[in-house]
Subunit: 349 residues, 4 copies
Amino acid sequence: MSSKRKKIKVGIVGATGYTGSELIRILIGHPDVSLEIVTSESKAGKEITDVHPQLRKMADIPLKSLSELQPEKLDVLFLALPHRVSMNFIAENTPLPCKVIDLSGDFRMNDVATYEKWYDVKHAVPDMVKTAAYGMPELFRDEILKADLIANPGCYPTTSILPLAPLVKDGLIEPNSVIVDAKSGITGAGAKAKDNTHFPNASDNFSAYGVKTHRHTPEIERTVLRFCNVDMSINFTPHLLPVNRGILATSYSQAKQGTNEKSVRDSLEKAYGDEYFIRLIDTPPEIRQVRGSNFCDIFATFDERTNRVITISVIDNLVKGAAGQAVQNMNLISGLPEASGLMTPPLSP
Amino acid sequence: MSSKRKKIKVGIVGATGYTGSELIRILIGHPDVSLEIVTSESKAGKEITDVHPQLRKMADIPLKSLSELQPEKLDVLFLALPHRVSMNFIAENTPLPCKVIDLSGDFRMNDVATYEKWYDVKHAVPDMVKTAAYGMPELFRDEILKADLIANPGCYPTTSILPLAPLVKDGLIEPNSVIVDAKSGITGAGAKAKDNTHFPNASDNFSAYGVKTHRHTPEIERTVLRFCNVDMSINFTPHLLPVNRGILATSYSQAKQGTNEKSVRDSLEKAYGDEYFIRLIDTPPEIRQVRGSNFCDIFATFDERTNRVITISVIDNLVKGAAGQAVQNMNLISGLPEASGLMTPPLSP
Amino acid sequence: MSSKRKKIKVGIVGATGYTGSELIRILIGHPDVSLEIVTSESKAGKEITDVHPQLRKMADIPLKSLSELQPEKLDVLFLALPHRVSMNFIAENTPLPCKVIDLSGDFRMNDVATYEKWYDVKHAVPDMVKTAAYGMPELFRDEILKADLIANPGCYPTTSILPLAPLVKDGLIEPNSVIVDAKSGITGAGAKAKDNTHFPNASDNFSAYGVKTHRHTPEIERTVLRFCNVDMSINFTPHLLPVNRGILATSYSQAKQGTNEKSVRDSLEKAYGDEYFIRLIDTPPEIRQVRGSNFCDIFATFDERTNRVITISVIDNLVKGAAGQAVQNMNLISGLPEASGLMTPPLSP
Amino acid sequence: MSSKRKKIKVGIVGATGYTGSELIRILIGHPDVSLEIVTSESKAGKEITDVHPQLRKMADIPLKSLSELQPEKLDVLFLALPHRVSMNFIAENTPLPCKVIDLSGDFRMNDVATYEKWYDVKHAVPDMVKTAAYGMPELFRDEILKADLIANPGCYPTTSILPLAPLVKDGLIEPNSVIVDAKSGITGAGAKAKDNTHFPNASDNFSAYGVKTHRHTPEIERTVLRFCNVDMSINFTPHLLPVNRGILATSYSQAKQGTNEKSVRDSLEKAYGDEYFIRLIDTPPEIRQVRGSNFCDIFATFDERTNRVITISVIDNLVKGAAGQAVQNMNLISGLPEASGLMTPPLSP
């Protein structure tokens, strides 16, 4: 009975971006959560419904300034802050007074040099880069349970790593042959209006960006290394889709000797057969199948003609790629069922 | 406690159209419902997830033939059938063995002649046209509670009637001056692929249809008459929007003597101040504010310059305009809170 | 033979907004035009293809500063400037050294008081408000031919006035009963990224704006008055469509005694039967039918049941609603066929 | 002077699909063409504007039955027919009475066995498979000039081959390492409404299809072989974009020893520096840059970190990917400038 369980006390720092607003959307319906505080420096003093009118009658939450935050009274604190701002917050709040789930990229790579090279900034709390867990429960459940700081994965890395990690670990593909061609909905570019997100520029359009240089490249490589101790050097190319939500990643890898259709499917079945949020399917997935949900749908196949393994995976970038996976992490460290509060069916169409 | 309440036994006839699939989406998350049977003549023998792959891991429901339906074992039966098919089903199942909520247009007008004129067909069970309740709880709660057959309102009429009915009843607008200019997302055209819903025809496009002849015209007129005994003769023009879900209706009416901004707002506040699913707002609403939810957001204003009252209202056509309002009716007649199972926040963006 | 005709020398002030870039798109293919200068204060020194990469290999035009403009060497100058900036430019360049076609709203209403009230600014050159022609050739050809300054019509007014003006002039509708419910693509909001044009806000969405207060309201009223000396007081409500280009306007008017289907159609046929850019059609038009072209498609019908006349008209807001009509005006005053350079078929889909 | 040149007499078989309607759109504005006959079996007896209302006032062309076609009176005949239907037409009209440009896939692979394997049908005129030219002027200008039958390239192959062919020919990439990840607008699926093109299914969605099995795979491989005698075995994966027009192809290839950024760019510059319709650019292209035009924009780069060459290319699938390239071929074999009738600027936005 939810009403008999003691509720988890949570706070959100940063309410106005898409990850913050998705956290609110999910948490106001979570049966075991008490949302104690939501902060926004730019909107402090307003109501959450002034910023997100769709939540009228559902969320009666005043937006507070960070100065009103008392993290020591919380069980879990979500940081929905930009890169760099997040690590400075952590630096100012060490030792952490409660469990922290950070949705920025600042603690995702357990290697300070790699971070500093790709993000072009000096890290503010290099020590914690090592101790932070990578918050992908399907691969790192034990580390997450032990950590004080959980680095919630990026949206592209979530979509890319989930299909690839078991195949690399089981030795089915050549790690240096991997190519990930990824396509993301425009919410991935953030809530702030920019030239490339102006409707007449984004609608009826499609293009690649960050070719050779996107920061999610090393996040994918480092995480696979961390998971199964195999070095990779991949090509990762993101593209901007004229849809709101959703990422689809298509990967191509050279098969190792002996790999076949069955071994590919067995590897994923072994890894994810018991994982609620991973749905292994027999046909290429569509992004609308997961819209609004925490599912990752994965299709994988072996092409005998070219000796390559192809995987196609989809997530909702704001849910499994951000706020949903963060809540999954919160559930995990709080002793709740991982799907608690995350059972809303995908909205399709 | 949901687990202690006895669950309502419900069935759905017609699972593959949009109204049927929305009923499933809502009911699988409803804490007080046991979904006993879902039928589909074209897909009987398959699983619901074969038709709606987004529901994998969420709905483990075999699709049955109508011959397997035992309505006498149900508390509530939803009919998600096309016009004409629905009245024939009712004709063959009279007297009704359980409460029936019909989502077609067959029982919405309590006047057989009007129905037969606009639908161009002889009604199969004219007697029941009179006894069926119009399933809009905000206006007809008492009738709904007493009825065996509930005619669930059309999507355009729901959007149009909710703002207009109180204004007509309170004598603020001239009933014969009303113009409703309505715009609907393409799911309103049904789940079957047609020329005008072919993506290259519908996308980046906009047009009116059913000018002077749409069947929701008399549904709006008859319902207002039924509600407050005032005859109306309106212009209703629907348009096809290149979006999936959502209806926005803009209405224009000549104000009666003495009408002003305050009297318009007071009339709606009096009618809906206590209604959870009606949100009265101070600025023109957007359809995405209600996407996936059972809300109807209403804005109304008086234009002193032209002496007209303008209302703008939005709903999700598949939820408050179909399946959600049907579940609201089910909750009402089952003694449950009307919002039970309907508390999922709108998905925006 | 185009090559034997002397080319018209034209200039464009303001190249980076949508009207400026559409002027360039049309004029680089115009057989009788020499595009002498294109200015942009923010991009002076760059090439036009730096701003509009789609024009590579088609337009080899450097962007100049306004200081390099020599209007006395031009035949026609187009002003694609914001409201207020435009009238200041005119104020500084009086008397005009060449024919000027102004695409802003500053000279469209031949009444200074009306302008100052709705635009909330003092007019810089009130004298020229009276002498400027309203650049809608179908209604004001003679005035345009005589004028030095042509005020190019607004996009909504073009869509609204063309169907209504003949009906008012011929006494078929009550002028004070007119309601125009208009829907525009998002390019109508300009080339600059704003919150309401951010793809995740505009896509899969629809809403009204400027209710009771949009500046195109008096432009419609004043222009009909100017055309046929009938005072109107209308309701005009614009809405934002999730498409790039196109406006559809639906109007509703009370019919006068004796009006019928035939008289409505005859009135439009008489007014526009010989106009190339007006296509009178028997079914409600779609906006994609005119995309990229200078056509205005008009449907009009009489509803006997309600005694109202309904018109539905569509244009491409950037062409007939801006740059295309401006070129039509240029052709007219230059003695060219009005369709010269405007014969590109609509792009559909 | 167009008016002094003798006009080419052309016919189109198949007017109602997208390739047929694009041919009409382009040819009615072509200064050197007389469109003698347009056929459609399903619409014979109607006007072209009954099927394509956007062309009203621009195309006054009756649709004829095939029985009225007299190919011996034409200079060039375009076949806009489905696969299989096209080769049967050729079989019945051998020897060809005029130059024929076939837009189907039936004559694109100069190897009957490959065709029959991937299209799963016996070829009706195997002899002509060998003699047909592959209608990509940039690579096969000489063959096209000599041929009686020109197989107009597929949309995906056009986008994929143009960037890859020079790189393979110049020995810069490993031919068996090539991966092409392609994304197409929905007009690529044809004009007929289908489940996967139903707006609510296609909009706000994205997915792969034809994984490992798409027929454009061997067309790409065979054409590169034909061009530079190098065998390739590639992975080609198409995806369905929620836009109307446009293809973007991203390719990844292992670089050969010595390849670098300069050699990649030089190779393309050498191949296409003088080609009007190829625009080599320094930044990743967007599909809207080419919308409605016959351009192919190509970006290519070398990734030192992974030793791979990445190319990104875009076309309008209905123009350079179908009707536009067909007209380019017509111009070529008729002694006209290749860009004649193809100079309309892209429509953006």
